[in-house]
Each structure stands twice: as structure tokens, then as C-alpha cells.
């Protein structure tokens, strides 16, 4: 989440696709939520990170 810098400017969000930093840090390959474009991102004080749980994909066997 990147917070707006001007009054009335909406927050923007992007999804982290890949961590490219050697120690698990930046740069992150992200996809912008509003445009779908991918870029390398170096989060600063205007950004916050939110974790979401993803359900495991695939078929589940039921007895």
C-alpha cells in the first residue's frame, strides 16, 4: 500500500510477485493494482506492507 502524497490523492496498492533482494528485502517485483503494470519497488516511509493468506491451490481428496 502506497499512501497518497497530496490531498485527495488516493492510496494505491500493488502485489509483491517476487523478492529480488539477497536478504529477503527490496527490490520487490510488484504489480500495480490499478494498472497491472510490473515494476521494481523499494518501499519508503509512504508504503506499508500487508500480508494476506492465500488458500492452497489444487484438488483436495475427500474420503
Amino acid at each position: 500500500m502506497i499512501h497518497g502524497h497530496r490531498v485527495g490523492e488516493p492510496n494505491r496498492d500493488c502485489e509483491v510477485l517476487e523478492v529480488q533482494g539477497s536478504d529477503g528485502g527490496a527490490p520487490y517485483l510488484v504489480r500495480w493494482g490499478d494498472s497491472g503494470h510490473e515494476a521494481l519497488f523499494f518501499p519508503g516511509s509512504d508504503a506499508s506492507l500487508e500480508h494476506y493468506e492465500h488458500e492452497a491451490r489444487g484438488n483436495h481428496a475427500h474420503d
Binding site: H5, P27, W32, A39, F42, G44
Partner: protein, 148 residues
């Protein structure tokens, strides 16, 4: 004050193999005028909107050309823990409008002259406020009674 404390915006970058068109699109959507060109986690160049105009558009370079064909390299950098005085000196000596901030050699963000100007204006405003108040609302000491 350290340079890192003046960074208000997240940094945005591209890989060297991305195209000029992609870089321009990222600039537009991210609302920035300069991108770090990063290979792995190594800063290899910086590309600005001005670079794209002068080195690509003006020379007829195709939008599908690699962005590293028009980037500036090597990059003038300032360390995140350096003082702002060091940043001012680099801006002045190199005639730059943006300065890549690094930590241990890795890019962390882009410091712009605009950031410094905004900070200076805020400091000047803070200095001028009490003076302005004094001019507008002058306080005079009560007259001392004259005794004879």
C-alpha cells in the same frame, strides 16, 4: 539530518532489459520522473523522463529498445546515512535534480531537489512565523509611570 530522513517517496525501478516504452509507462503510473535501473539488487543506472526525450525520442530510437540504452551510468549516489550537507554538495557539484540514495551499495530511493526545496520552505516558514506575528500583533510594554 541524514539523507534517508528526507526520502518521502518509495523508489521505483526497472530491470535493464525492460523496454523504453515499459519504463515510460511505469513512470506515468507511478507518478515519478526517474527510475532506478536495477540488475538483481545492484543499481546499474538511472533513467529520467528527460533521458527518454533526449536520448530516445529525439534520436528516433524505437520504444521497444532496451531501457539501458538510454540510462545514465555510472550513477552519482549518496549514502543513506550521509548528512544532507553531502547531498547538497553533490547536487551542486554535478548539476543534478535527482540523486540516488544507497545503503551498502543497494538502491533505496531517489532524493530530489524538490524534496530539499519543500524542506527549506518549511524551515523558512517556521523561522518567519514568530517574526510575522511580531509585526502583525506588536506587543508594547506598558508605559512606565513617571514619578517625580
Amino acid at each position: 539530518m541524514r539523507t534517508i530522513e528526507m526520502l518521502h517517496r518509495s523508489g521505483v525501478g526497472v530491470a535493464p532489459a525492460r523496454t523504453i516504452r515499459e519504463a515510460a509507462t511505469i513512470m506515468e503510473h507511478a507518478g515519478v520522473g526517474a527510475l532506478a535501473v536495477v540488475d538483481g539488487d545492484q543499481l546499474v543506472g538511472v533513467v529520467t523522463d528527460r533521458d527518454i526525450v533526449r536520448r530516445a525520442v529525439a534520436r528516433g530510437l524505437h520504444g521497444d529498445a532496451r531501457i539501458d540504452a538510454v540510462m545514465t551510468s555510472p550513477v552519482v549516489t549518496v549514502a543513506a546515512d550521509d548528512t544532507l550537507d553531502a547531498a547538497y554538495a553533490l547536487f551542486a557539484s554535478h548539476g543534478l535534480r535527482r540523486l540516488a540514495v544507497t545503503r551498502d551499495g543497494s538502491f533505496v530511493g531517489m532524493l530530489t531537489i524538490d524534496d530539499l526545496l519543500v524542506s527549506l520552505v518549511e524551515q523558512l516558514d517556521a523561522l518567519a512565523r514568530p517574526i510575522t506575528a511580531e509585526i502583525l500583533f506588536a506587543q508594547r510594554d506598558p508605559a512606565v509611570p513617571i514619578t517625580t
